[in-house]
């Protein structure tokens, strides 16, 4: 086992570029996607009223108030319509004195969200204005603001044990999703060394040697495990200490989840190896298949966004969804090992089953030779 492990390590020491590239890719992909989720969407607003400038001046500060989800920007009406027509923006808002219109070319979730937000602002303002007939508007506005600052009732949220309820950390989720996805490629390509060595007949040399077959498989699998764990650990350390991502308070537990996940995914790669007879076939199947795993596992989406039961069932057959679930529980809910024991057990079970079938298939194929 040690000789096979060391030979694989020596190969990678000679050519560490792919490993470094995968580490860089994990970081780049995470930073790129996290940034895009944090960027506020800009919505064009315009007014075609004869007092357009005054209307824009009145509504823009209200729309762009603190805590707004969007950034509203006054633009030329023609330009705003053109941008929507050409599909460069989903929606633009035509402001009127006491009403608004949405300019859109097709239906999309953004249009509904913008509509909801703008309607809320208009309704609130209309209510204040309606009441200003009874009370002086300025006084009323001040009273409302004071009321909001010091409400008679305040809703507070806390955990069962009285601890602060953490909000879901999408950036960390995306970081895990991309790091795991890219490590899956490392695992697969390393496991594929088995097929590579079979084709080049290095495997036959080993078969004829006194080394046991179990040791041979263990050599490849343990190296794939080691190098993938190394890759993920480097990426996580960089995100924790350099990019200051919130990884919770149980870094060791996170590494344990990752280690079990790697075992599960190596088993999946082994299962695919059992079906193929040439490394090229593996290179064709594996990279087309694995990018679907984070998608169907909802790894790129906020919790609850993916609620298709069929997809959920399929996702549960692979380690990704269980690993993401466990990781986010540890990061967001400060969960301990007993709270994620179910997810870890499921990954281990999947791993054992896939590994068993994979090696069995590969051996049956050899026996048929």
């Amino acid at each position: 086992m040690g000789s096979v492990f060391m030979a694989q390590l020596a190969k990678d020491r000679r050519n560490p570029l792919i490993l470094l590239l995968f580490i860089a890719l994990s970081i780049l992909a995470t930073l790129l996607f996290v940034r895009s989720t944090q960027n506020m969407t800009t919505i064009a607003v315009f007014s075609e009223d004869e007092h357009g400038a005054a209307i824009e001046e009145k509504w823009l500060p209200l729309l762009n108030r603190e805590g707004a989800y969007y950034h509203f920007k006054a633009v030329d009406a023609k330009h705003a319509r053109e941008q929507v027509q050409k599909g460069r923006s989903d929606v633009a808002v035509k402001l009127m004195e006491q009403d608004y219109r949405l300019v859109a070319a097709s239906d999309s979730p953004t249009i509904q969200q913008v509509d909801q937000y703008v309607r809320k602002i208009y309704t609130q303002e209309m209510q204040i204005q309606a009441s200003s007939g009874v009370i002086k508007e300025e006084k009323l506005r001040e009273a409302v603001n004071e009321y909001v600052r010091k409400p008679p009732f305040r809703l507070t949220k806390q955990g069962i044990d009285g601890s602060k309820v953490q909000s879901h950390n999408m950036s960390t989720q995306l970081m895990f999703a991309f790091t795991l996805l890219i490590s899956i490629f490392t695992m697969g390509f390393k496991v594929n060394s088995v097929t590579n060595d079979k084709v080049s007949r290095i495997w036959d040399r080993m078969i004829l040697s006194p080394i046991h077959k179990t040791s041979m498989y263990l050599g490849y699998i343990s190296y794939s495990f080691f190098i993938s764990l190394f890759q993920v650990t480097v990426v996580l350390i960089l995100f924790k200490y350099v990019f200051k991502f919130d990884l919770g308070h149980h870094f060791g537990l996170i590494l344990l989840i990752i280690a079990i996940f790697i075992f599960g995914m190596i088993s999946l790669a082994m299962l695919i190896t059992g079906f193929v007879s040439k490394p090229e076939q593996f290179y064709a199947i594996y990279p087309s298949f694995v990018p679907m795993l984070p998608l169907i596992s909802g790894a790129y989406m906020p919790p609850g966004a993916l609620n298709n039961p069929v997809l959920s069932f399929i996702a549960d057959l692979f380690p990704m969804s269980h690993a993401m679930d466990a990781l986010m529980k540890v990061v967001n809910l400060d969960a301990g090992i007993s709270e994620i024991a179910l997810q870890l057990s499921l990954i281990l079970l999947i791993g054992v089953v896939y590994m068993g079938i994979g090696i069995n298939l590969a051996e049956r194929k050899s026996a048929r030779k």
Partner: protein, 310 residues
Amino acid sequence: MLEVFKLSKSYKGKRAVDEINLYLDEGDSVGLLGPNGAGKSTTISMISTLIKPTSGDIKFHGKSTVEAPAALRKVLGVVPQEIALYEELSAYENLKFFGKIYKVEKRLLEERIQDVLDLVGLKDRQKELVKTFSGGMKRRVNIAAALLHQPKILILDEPTVGIDPQSRTHILEMVRMMNERTGTTVLYTSHYMEEVEQLCKRVYIMDHGKIIAAGTKAELMSILSNEDKIQIQLDRPSASFVEAIKGLKHIHHVEANEENIDFIASKGSNILGLLVREAEKAGAELINYQMDTPSLEDVFLHLTGRTLRD
């Protein structure tokens, strides 16, 4: 020492090897000669215990290797046709890896690596990566990797395919030396007749999965003892002449190219006069007539009607 009884291998109902028998004695050098696709590689894969036969048996010192391959594997060195090496590693690193998996004692390993590198003539280039080597050099390391555990039986599967003449000579000389000096038993497969002729004391000729002839070189040549191999040359190419001599009674296996016409003729048939007459009829002149001793290639041609490279 090693006996093969009625060994067969079928793939999806098609027989790749068909009830072959062969044996290897200690210190023997045996050639397995045949064209591509004859079943040589399948045969040696079965003898090497890498694949199981469909039927038949292989016995090493009287014990079946199909049931218990360990004893044979211990003394076996196999040089596959493919370059079974890690190209990203140096020659030295590759040999160290194979030495370790063969459980060569740590204190002996370094010495053995240097010995085999010396034998294959790559001692000076041991630190270079295999991927930077020429085809011939790779083949030499490929052989070296099979020698680290000092095997008693060495099986080589077409070890000289696609290499330069210099490396080829080196490999052949090395195998011959190992057989003669250290008494290593050699089973050498090739479709190059001259290699087998040069190296092996006994030869098995295979075609379509069957052994069609076997024996020492002299025994095989005796198949053609009543025939001569003749090569003639005309002053100009003549298709009608070739057609005419194909019809002559004592001539067979006629092969013509732009320069020469080769054929086998019955010994003592005295055909020179006939050839001159046929040449005159075809409007050509016979300018060269050469009679050779038949080679294994001719034996193969005689037995199968094809050349080894067909």
